[in-house]
Symmetry: C2
Subunit: 380 residues, 2 copies
Amino acid sequence: MGAGHTRFGALPDGPRTLLRTAVDGAFSSVEKGAERSAVGEAFLATLGFGGWQIGNAAALLAEEAGSAGAATTRVENACASGGFALRAGVRAVERGDAELVLVAGLEKMTDVTSARRRYWLGVSGDTEWERLAGLTFAGVYGLIASEYVHRHPDGREALAEVASKNHENGSRNPNAHFQKRVSRDEVLRAPRVADPLGLYDCCPVSDGAAALLIAPADQARRYTDTPIFVEGLGAASDRLAVQERPELTRFDASRRAGDRAFQDAGLDRSRVNFLEVHDCFTIAELLALEDLGFAEPGGAVDLTLSGATRLTGRLPVNPDGGLKSKGHPIGATGVSQVYEIFLQLRAAAGARQIPGAEVALAHNVGGAGATAAVSIFSRG
Amino acid sequence: MGAGHTRFGALPDGPRTLLRTAVDGAFSSVEKGAERSAVGEAFLATLGFGGWQIGNAAALLAEEAGSAGAATTRVENACASGGFALRAGVRAVERGDAELVLVAGLEKMTDVTSARRRYWLGVSGDTEWERLAGLTFAGVYGLIASEYVHRHPDGREALAEVASKNHENGSRNPNAHFQKRVSRDEVLRAPRVADPLGLYDCCPVSDGAAALLIAPADQARRYTDTPIFVEGLGAASDRLAVQERPELTRFDASRRAGDRAFQDAGLDRSRVNFLEVHDCFTIAELLALEDLGFAEPGGAVDLTLSGATRLTGRLPVNPDGGLKSKGHPIGATGVSQVYEIFLQLRAAAGARQIPGAEVALAHNVGGAGATAAVSIFSRG
């Protein structure tokens, strides 16, 4: 596997430039070289439509990658687009349809008005019961966080720790949107967005792209001496409207996707050295730890407050800063998580390197838990 | 394989109802029964965003199918979304990730203003060189048809024959948007849309949905005594802007996708009994015949005027009426083509049945030839 990444943030670049930069990075990352013409198939994860006025966007990916004629598919599952594009890409490789498969994620979010963006993003949640009643994504996650904090009184402190930890990690990531440390106290004192969530509990609106180059496992050493392997895939869905689910403080889609991924990989959770989880809001990181089976319900509070999820802890979570600090260019996010795993498993993550990392998991959520994709990787 | 279909046309139903109707039809079509809970994965083809105000739409498919929790993915490749969703669905089955996979296509087009629809559809073509210069899809295909007719003087008559034939076929399809015969003369005398294309050379704007249920080949007889098999898949892309391609009167994406599908199937073109091709404009049916290797460049004129592509000919094309007469609800089209193949290969196509059909091909194009998916089926 090869991987490339742009800076995340409010960027001057247009979508084609972002895509090209990420793809160029993926090709550069395989030191033995790879031919662009060997890319027989490509997948583009993007929500896209609301912003950059270009449709049938998958065709652009082959153009910008210099892989003219490759089969191309756009995958869109809201914020989980990247995780599902990866899933599609791995299957294309496994079926033997292409020597190399390219998976890219892209979003250009800062060039539309915030009113238009609110509509564009808002439709990824439920429309009939939530959006048209005025419930935004911050609102939904605020409700979930309220209930969680009500049940687990130390929960608010744990949310602040998630934000503070992820900002600390982001400060070590030169691609992160925010590279600034924030103390727990600053998080708790920040203006409210949707009680109990404040400004530092919410991820930003970012531009950016990321790309992966995938080869059949038995061909990987043709391209690099340090290949990274996909060990397992899992995905699931849930009712789109949160009110139609039995429980507010867990995402069954994440649970099922996680179980399927571990089953597919044939690996035990104890083998995982670190996680990239979907922390669009700080509460989402706590839910992810529980839904993926790394803590009991409510147990994410102690796990987080114990420092275990810090870079230096026993189970680092979001070493790249997560959506919270690295940024969240919708379609790029699920691919960007795998970029971080690629760097870490290659021991190339610089100031945020987790020593000796061998197995890692990526968890990507669409809507407020309506779709989820989980993937597990190893350094072989 | 099971298959279901709604009526196509300007319908009162909303997207959820259309989806449910098509999926219910697919379940009813397998006479030995199939459990909705056996659907482990589902793919939704839809352009969707411009119309029905609902995002993260893949989650809705599992909801409406009664297959809660299934992994769901939205695939969007403009008018080729359905063909690419099928491709993704077949791979999911082949990897063994689900007992049954559901592939659905859906579009609700008649509930938005035509100005908004023009933008929504227009972005599926090139933006920088075509749309912003005022070139619509009818305009692009008009240019292609002009050049084609210039090179092949009987071409205009052949275009009229395509329209007349497809309307004749559509008159035998109770799901078709138009079920009305049109003579070649009426086609030629109709008001111009984009010279030389007239009103009857253009497909309509339709609502509708279609759905397929796919099982592993060795399990197919658990569900039905008359299974239909996927023999081969092919897909490709091209430059998004027509001006950047070497030739106006062929689609290289269709050529490559067709070659790959025949190679994947290990079948010769002579084995194919009929075709479902992407006739968004009449000229597109002539190009498809040539690009898929059933005629030399320009040869589609004689093939068509000879009557060979009629229901009673040696190579019927678009027995269901094609996009032209059956209608073109964008995301549903590629799935609807396979529904027709399903009926024909099961000898269940009623007044439009092609006697003894054993092998058929579906050809689905996105943009003006920017993406293409080809699939080949047999009755085993």
